[in-house]
Amino acid sequence: MNEKTNKKGFGAWFRDNWKNNALFSTGIALIVMVILQTLALGFNYASFGEWFGAWINNWMNILRNNSSVGIIALGMTFVIISGGIDLAVGSTLVAVGAITMTLIDAANGGWLGAIGLTGAPAYIVAILISIAAGIIFGGLNGLMVTAGKIPPFIATLGAMKILRSVTQQFMQSSSPKVPTGFQQIARVKVGGQMFMPILYWLLIALVLYIVSKKTVFGRHVFAVGSNEKTSRLSGINVNRVKLGVYALMGAVVAIAAVLQVSRIGAMDPANAGSGYELDSIAAVIVGGTSMSGGKGSVVGTVFGMLIIAVMNNLLNLLGVPPFLREAFKGAIIIAAVLLQRKSSDN
């Protein structure tokens, strides 16, 4: 028996990882997707250089277009691992975005202009205030969940309605302009590509990866999500951990909001960020994080986001009608969960 287990062939190694390592199976799925997408892009180019340029271009588009949801999904990973959910992220994005734009409005100088703050200092202050606002919005969700003992689904559903509605009312008579200087935060080009949103996404992913693996807070999030009772009886302040998770979510959404304002130069209070909550949850789920909490990873969420994004791109390249693309997205979410259930049962 020992010999048998010692001499594991590639097949056994693959099966073992496929079953027990969620990151492995999502990684494989991602690689398959990328290969299919590369094939779909075709090789009908004059030179390798031209093909490579087109390939890179295509990828930059994918990454950039998904950077906002991708960033939000990173925060959502923490929320879901802690055993919660946040439906308010899209509305928080639009509320924070409205605050950012109002602070630096190019049309009339904005609130910061009114106190004599312009240019780069104003942008920095605006970003800090926006992130603080995100933390406050997230923290309020956290308070409802902890002190108010309201189930996260309901608390954040309420917050989702309130934030969007109030933002729309507040913004109906004003349409602030984003100064071109502020737009450079996302639009400055690196090697001819609008690379910054991708860079921010990867940076935040790296930071949150470290938080999830190496910090007391990160590990407490996993502990609380897996077994709240044991966590409490191990001296963990469960409410503080949950509050922290929602506040972190708010901060991450605020960063996404600032980037979106900068990248697009405008924000429609009625539609911006709508659907982000479910898209980010989908990325987290496809990335192998368990809805019941306690299990998951930041890297998995990056993979999950990429799988969905690459598939979208693939469907686009193949000329699948736009209305049908959501159906594929739905199918891949269901498939991912079926796959994960199989691996946890065995």
Binding site: F217, K229, R232, L233, G235
Partner: protein, 494 residues
């Protein structure tokens, strides 16, 4: 109706649970079925209730031999079993619960609520009970829930009712109410089997008794001809008092004390002190409130009155984190729910308590954490493959040691062990006792909560015995023996 169970044998695998047990019950009497946990009471009654089948022996009802294949069979013959965990749906009204599974319908197949309410009222009238059948079960207190179960048994025309520890979760006035109901039924000719640990209650309500021990019938007779002492001795057996494990004691100052601690309905006016180097036991029967008491001390349950002092200084512990800082640790009961984090590794489970200490600016000091756990793994003889494996890969005993490890690493001044040997094998049990005693020798104040008298006698210097949330008495050193503990735990005096 007269019930006779004759020469019942039952084994599960190689384990003989019942050997040649006989039991009789006449209509119009309440018979106590007594015994320690694992004595075979439940198995015997499950055979009567159609849940298990006897390997040998016969059941006679009014002299006629019967065989029950299922609980429904047994109910058809007029035998109703009211389990300890009541079988009621909180979100339905009383009358709906009464008819669950046998609902009355009108001709058009819709439910006939009026008929069900009328029938329920009829049964209540027979029981001399003034209760509106339309009240939601949720709004009833525990005694009325018990009574609704009895009513349901009567609705099914039961003439024999088995009640498994019906008073465990009841308060004193609630117990009165259930007892009054039982007496009413007895007078109307129903036979009741009363399974209980509480000898004082047995003396009060029962007419006859049968005692089981290790699957054998030890004694049986009229309650009027016995005493609490005699019953306690029959339940425990004669060869009690196993050797104490304590050798030398160096008892120091008072480390933890509680004064006048009350949290209804769990415990009231409890005071205690425990010294450095001492092992203090807290024992009693299910529902005595000891676990809630120490979860309160540990900051996991809130709302109690009374004061707690650590090393003579009053402390207000509102969260478990504050308890940890004050030097109070708590190893919980029910390892699976309260002790382990199933999605985490052995290493993480064994160090989770001390992460805040072993970190800098919020970053975990993983080298120190791994080394600390490595030391504890050796000290506690935890058998594991890799510390990075999931906690579920370990046996129950080793899991329990990991749960101990996380608290030992925190170096508490007081450590409370709640049912520390639950679900571990004999070998691991002895090792856990060694750990407890070693801690005491190192000057830690140790509190052991256990319902196993043997365990208390063997590891503790002193024990508090609780009964229904109050301190019933305290036994020191050689005063601790199973009869004395059983007497106090069942509400008697030493």
């Amino acid at each position: 109706m007269t019930l006779e169970m004759k020469g019942i044998y039952k084994s599960f695998g190689a384990n003989d649970v019942l050997r040649d047990v006989s039991f009789t019950l006449n209509g119009g009497e309440i018979c106590a079925l007594l015994g320690e946990n694992g004595a075979g009471k439940s198995t015997l009654m499950n055979i009567l209730g159609g849940v298990h089948h006897a390997d040998q022996g016969q059941i006679l009802l009014d002299g006629k031999r019967v065989a029950f294949q299922t609980p429904a069979d047994s109910l058809k013959h007029g035998i109703a079993f009211i389990h300890q965990e009541l079988n009621l749906v909180n979100d339905l009204a009383i009358y709906e619960n009464m008819f669950i599974g046998h609902e009355l319908r009108k001709k058009n197949r819709f439910l006939d609520s009026a008929a069900m309410i009328a029938k329920t009222n009829e049964v209540f009238k027979k029981m001399d009970l003034d209760l509106d059948p339309r009240i939601m079960v949720r709004d009833l207190d525990a005694s009325y829930k018990q009574i609704v179960e009895i009513a349901r048994a009567l609705l099914m025309e039961a003439s024999i009712i088995i009640m498994d520890e019906p008073t465990t979760s009841l308060t004193e006035p609630e117990i009165r109410r259930v007892f009054d109901m039982m007496n009413t039924l007895r007078k109307s000719g129903v036979g009741i089997v009363f399974i209980s640990h509480k000898l004082r209650e047995v003396m009060e309500i029962c007419t006859r008794y049968t005692v089981l021990r290790d699957g054998n019938m030890v004694s049986s007779g009229l309650v009027s001809e016995t005493s609490v002492d005699m019953l306690a001795r029959d339940m425990v057996g004669h060869d009690v008092r196993t050797q104490s494990l304590r050798r030398e004691k160096k008892i120091g100052d008072v480390i933890l004390s509680g004064k006048g601690m009350t949290l209804e309905p769990h415990f009231r006016n409890v005071s205690f002190e425990v010294h450095a180097g001492e092992v203090l036991g807290f024992t009693g029967l299910l529902g005595d409130g000891r676990s809630e008491l120490f979860q309160t001390v540990f900051g996991a349950i809130h709302g109690a009155s009374g004061t707690v002092e650590v090393e003579g200084k009053p402390v207000r512990i509102r969260t478990t984190g504050q308890a940890l800082k004050a030097g109070v640790g708590y190893v919980p009961r029910n390892r699976k729910e309260n002790g382990i984090i199933k999605d985490m590794s052995i290493l993480e489970n064994g160090t989770v308590v001390t992460w805040p200490r072993d970190s800098k600016m919020g970053f975990l000091h993983s080298k120190k954490i791994e080394k600390d756990f490595d030391d504890l793994e050796k000290e506690l003889h935890i058998k594991l493959g890799s510390a990075k494996d999931l906690i579920g890969s370990l046996s129950g005993g080793n899991q329990q040691k990991v749960v101990l490890a996380k608290w030992l690493d925190a170096n508490p001044k007081v450590l409370v062990f709640d049912n520390p040997t639950q679900g571990v094998d004999v070998g691991a049990k002895e090792e856990i006792y060694d750990i407890i005693l070693k801690l005491a020798e190192a000057g830690v104040a140790v509190i052991v909560l256990s319902s196993e008298a043997q365990e208390i006698i063997r590891v503790c210097d002193r024990t508090v015995v609780m009964f229904h949330g109050s301190v019933q008495g305290e036994l020191v050193g050689d005063e601790m023996n199973e009869q004395a503990i059983m007497r106090l735990a069942t509400g008697g005096q030493v």
